[in-house]
């Protein structure tokens, strides 16, 4: 009896899946419906006058933006998604992004939905697909892998979704990359965070001595770019320098601290540490060992406070403002249309802060030039770098809660403004694994693989 039941169930399920997959080749019914409604709105659009934007909103073209929402509602559905790993940087980036969608003038046009993804590719793929199916007009997300999610992003693009990736990049051409990894820091002529950080470290060490190098998550492209560009800096600036040991710091201060502690046990003669995100762990381990040596790190409040107290170091790293900037890029694409010329590769400038340039913000608001919060305003691990020239409307409240303070107004990008932040094509190879038309693969002057004009 039981066996019969099992066989029957198996047969039903088998038949079902077979039927489903047979139909699966054709495009989805929802997508068809969406496309149909979009076509209808477009057909109606020429008839409407510019003044009738309110009417247009009622017809499914809110705020008079370029195209109608895919789901056919009154607002654009925009997803802001981050990794569900309880990491301060991730939280701030997604909060700054969410806040944009809740600020005027966007708030009237956009229905913002925030999501979290478990940190494995299958989860992220599944979630992007769910968002696409839920009628997303734009998806702003942190991609777990530069390549593994590509097919899914492509599907989303094909369905008419604007996909914007922040911080880490993806190689899928239809997605927009908003990233700092190839950018030049403010006030520097040399691109690459890793290069700049290592150069600063070498400078602080007086050009000699042996160091530790901490990786982020080994096996990721961001980490690899930082690492290779740092090696390039050693090669060019201090070829005699030795790397005593390297470790996987996992972009996590607890892990960095544990690993630094271990490394110091066997190599107490170290004179500098190249430490990525989670640098507070490196510094705490050094403090416990009573060693004050130059450290490079990212932008945590703790590290900046240490710089303020005179620690020899350079704070240089990924600005969480990228989350907000990416959101504004996505909204810009919705507003001006995909063909308006918004570049797909946008470099976000970032700061270099040393003990000489560290400056306390008078309170928790942004004042030109300040780069660390007063003690006790934010936690150690929070980044002190939520402010960015591209995101003047950022606020500490937004970064903490994802909800902007009342009255704060977003400053939309113009297409030209974005064009001025387009990534230099010579560095395209690093983020896209391919060069733009008219360029071929070659060596950059920093020693990394890049593109050269043919």
């Amino acid at each position: 009896m039981k066996r019969n039941w099992k066989v029957a169930a198996l047969a039903v399920v088998a038949a079902g899946t077979l039927a489903l997959s047979a139909c699966g080749g054709s495009t989805s019914s929802t997508a068809d419906a969406g496309a149909a409604s979009a076509a209808a709105t477009e057909a109606a659009a020429p008839a409407a006058t510019a003044a009738a934007s309110e009417a247009a909103a009622a017809n499914g073209n809110p705020c008079g933006w370029a195209a109608a929402p895919r789901a056919g509602g009154a607002k654009y559905v925009v997803y802001m998604s981050s990794l569900n790993i309880g990491n301060a940087w991730q939280e701030e980036a997604v909060n700054l992004g969410s806040a944009e969608g809740l600020m005027a003038p966007y708030s009237d046009c956009v229905e913002l939905r925030t999501e979290r993804t478990e940190p494995d590719p299958a989860s992220q793929i599944s979630q992007i697909q769910s968002m696409t199916a839920a009628g997303a007009d734009a998806i702003v997300t942190f991609a777990l892998s530069p390549t593994a999610i590509n097919a899914t992003f492509k599907e989303a693009c094909d369905a008419g979704v604007t996909v914007v990736i922040y911080d880490a990049t993806v190689t899928e051409p239809c997605a927009y990359n908003v990233s700092y990894i190839t950018a030049k820091p403010v006030g520097s002529d040399i691109p690459f965070m890793g290069y700049n950080a290592m150069a600063a470290l070498i400078d602080m060490m007086g050009g000699a001595g042996d160091i530790f190098v901490a990786h982020g998550v080994a096996g990721t492209s961001v980490d690899n770019v930082h690492y290779l560009s740092a090696l390039a800096a050693i090669e060019q600036l201090a070829p005699d320098m030795n790397i005593l040991t390297e470790w996987d710091g996992n972009w996590d201060s607890a892990q960095q601290q544990k690993e630094t502690t271990k490394a110091l046990a066997s190599n107490p003669n170290v004179v500098g540490i190249f430490c990525g995100y989670g640098e507070s762990g490196c510094v705490k381990a050094l403090k416990a060992a009573d060693k004050t040596i130059p450290v490079t790190g990212e932008t945590s409040q703790y590290f900046r406070e240490q710089l303020l107290a005179g620690w020899p170091g350079v704070s240089i790293g990924s600005p969480p403002a990228q989350g907000g900037i990416a959101m504004k890029v996505a909204l810009g694409v919705l507003q001006y249309g995909p063909d308006a010329g918004i570049p797909h590769d946008i470099e976000v400038p970032f700061k270099v802060v040393t003990k000489d340039t560290v400056k306390v913000c008078p309170d928790d608001t942004y004042t030109e030039g300040c780069n660390v919060f007063p003690a006790g305003v934010v936690g150690d691990e929070n980044t002190a770098d939520i402010f960015n020239p591209l995101l003047p409307e950022a606020s500490l409240t937004s970064a903490k809660t994802g909800v902007p303070p009342a009255g704060l107004v977003a400053v939309p990008f113009t297409v030209d403004e974005l064009k001025s932040f387009e990534q230099d094509p010579s560095r395209r190879y690093i983020t896209r694994e391919a060069c733009p038309e008219g360029w071929t693969q070659g060596k950059l002057k920093e020693g990394l693989d890049g593109c050269v004009q043919s």
Partner: protein
């Protein structure tokens, strides 16, 4: 299909039935909420759901094999990861069928090494496979320092077009034959229940154990190929989550961690359940810290329900076991036993 409540209860005490039941509930929630929210039932989405499930299904079946024979294998995630980076870094232009065979052979070889350490080295399987896992994860990063590379397009397409459902059906039929209709399958169940008795029955216990380790390894290799195909690229860290989800799938599917009990079909639905949970949470709109909590609670529910019902079943069986009815001959002989 089931109108009789007793029948439903009967089904739920069976691990496989319960897994199917649980999965059907999740699918019903997902699809109904999805359509009422105006998203429609997107067949393409269901298909890609299957594509994503495929590697987990295959890997979890491998893990189930090892659990049924009463051992433990943590190396699945390691094998999948290394297969993925090898395909992406060096085999991308090879004949896809050759790739499949090679990667299954590689997985089988790793299984062999595990098995040899466990059986000849007489080490606990959990410790050996933990070490293998660490080694393989390290090698994956050595081979591919950053995500890149291409998977042979034939493989990628192979899992995308309707073949996926077909593939799942074929896999499940083969697995079912293997579990229920092959000598090795029978030996595997026997081994999990009582290895000593199997040894006394004159069967080569070590060889059978070794075969299962190799077979499981080969399945991880295949899962690695499927995962590569579903991702389309190489990523040394992409397989990490398989470490625990494979076991979760087996547990939800009713596999007993003491060995000797479990089914491929149950594991299949366990894996499908695990990947349906995020879908359900998405349509319900669970999107902050509650997501992790809800996920954990759902898995707990599925597993505890299973444990609970098999507890009742055991107890019932205990109370209604049959008597042995003595026959004629016993009368005359039993008196003569003993030596006083």
């Amino acid at each position: 299909m089931n109108t009789n409540p007793g029948r439903i209860r009967q089904t739920l005490t069976d691990g496989t039935g319960r897994a199917v039941f649980f999965w059907l509930i999740l699918m019903a929630i997902w699809l109904s909420l999805q359509s009422t929210q105006g998203m429609g039932v997107d067949l393409g989405q269901i298909q890609s759901y299957l594509v994503l499930s495929l590697p987990l299904i295959v890997a979890a079946i491998g893990v189930t094999l090892v659990i049924i024979m009463g051992q433990f294998d943590l190396s699945a995630a390691g094998v999948i990861g290394i297969v993925n980076v090898i395909i992406a870094s060096t085999l991308s232009s090879w004949n896809p069928l050759l790739v499949v065979v090679l990667m299954m052979a590689l997985g089988g070889f790793i299984g062999l090494v595990n098995g040899l350490f466990v059986i000849l080295g007489k080490l606990p399987a959990i410790a050996v496979t933990l070490a293998t896992l660490i080694i393989l994860q390290g090698l994956a990063v050595v081979i591919l320092p950053q995500p890149s590379g291409k998977i042979p397009p034939f493989l990628v397409d192979g899992v995308r077009v309707p073949f996926v459902a077909l593939g799942i059906i074929v896999i499940i039929i083969i697995a079912w034959m293997l579990f229920k209709r092959s000598r090795l399958g029978l030996y595997m169940f026997a081994l999990g229940a009582d290895p000593e008795a199997l040894h006394l029955s004159g069967l080569p216990v070590k060889k059978i154990q070794l075969k299962i380790f190799v077979l499981a390894g080969a399945l991880y290799g295949l899962a690695g190929v499927f995962m590569s195909a579903s991702l389309g690229s190489g990523d040394g860290n992409a397989a990490d989550s398989f470490l625990l989800t494979t076991f979760a799938a087996a547990a939800i599917g009713g596999t007993a961690f003491v060995g000797g009990r479990g089914s491929a079909v149950g594991t299949l639905f366990g894996a499908l359940t695990l990947l349906a949970i995020p879908k359900v949470l998405f349509v319900i709109g669970v999107s902050d810290w509650t997501q992790k909590v809800a996920f954990g609670l759902l898995v707990l529910l599925a597993v505890v329900a299973g444990a609970f019902s098999s507890l009742r079943k055991d107890r019932e069986q205990l109370l209604v076991a049959p008597y042995s009815t003595p026959t004629e001959g016993e009368l005359s002989t039993a008196t003569k036993g003993g030596n006083a």
